[in-house]
Symmetry: C2
């Protein structure tokens, strides 16, 4: 779908429930969601404690909840290494990494208009 | 800024407070914000009542609050025609229309991964 086709597409009476934009924006819902994705994009992979340190003000409960939801949505993957002590790392899936294109458009807009 | 430059940019330790992505995502905060922008993009310009009809479940207070915030942020413009009865129309500013590029990336992502 080109940008022009997209413009045409939204002019038609697309019901909001079927709209790919609404559905995707729902994935960003949650105070910390976009920040977690952003930090994982920057760092490639992070342990829980490392991620927490980067997110000023987040609690353990909020971070584990956000990670759980992102895992269920297929955006974040959790990898457990059977070492002692147990090592768990979080990283973006292919879908999560592809979100960088959305962030790029958002950044360009912010640069131009904020 | 190209996409490659953007990738480089975020790898550096950009503090989240100065990040154009965070700042722009804040503009989308609010349950109805993105839906209002989307409906105004589709219809070009709408009166309060027309807009309300398109947003199932929104109250007058929520809609006028959302419009007020979007006006303050320079995304929506309110035009008053001095007719009897008074006619007021809402439309997107240039900055608001440029948000369609963000929606386009969001839609492409949704098509690919949802």
């Amino acid at each position: 779908m080109t940008f022009e086709e997209f413009q045409e597409y939204i002019k038609n009476e697309t019901p909001a429930e079927n709209c790919p934009v609404s559905k995707t924006l729902e994935l960003f819902a949650g105070k910390w969601t976009s920040r977690v994705i952003y930090e994982l994009e920057k760092a490639d992979r992070l342990r829980f404690g490392q991620l927490k340190k980067k997110l000023d003000g987040i609690t353990n409960t909020m971070l584990s909840g956000t990670l759980k939801v992102l895992e269920e949505r297929g955006i974040v993957q959790r990898k457990q290494y059977n070492e002692v002590p147990l090592r768990v790392e979080y990283s973006l899936t292919e879908a999560g990494k592809a979100m960088l294109h959305i962030y790029y458009e958002i950044a360009k807009w912010g640069d131009a208009y904020l």
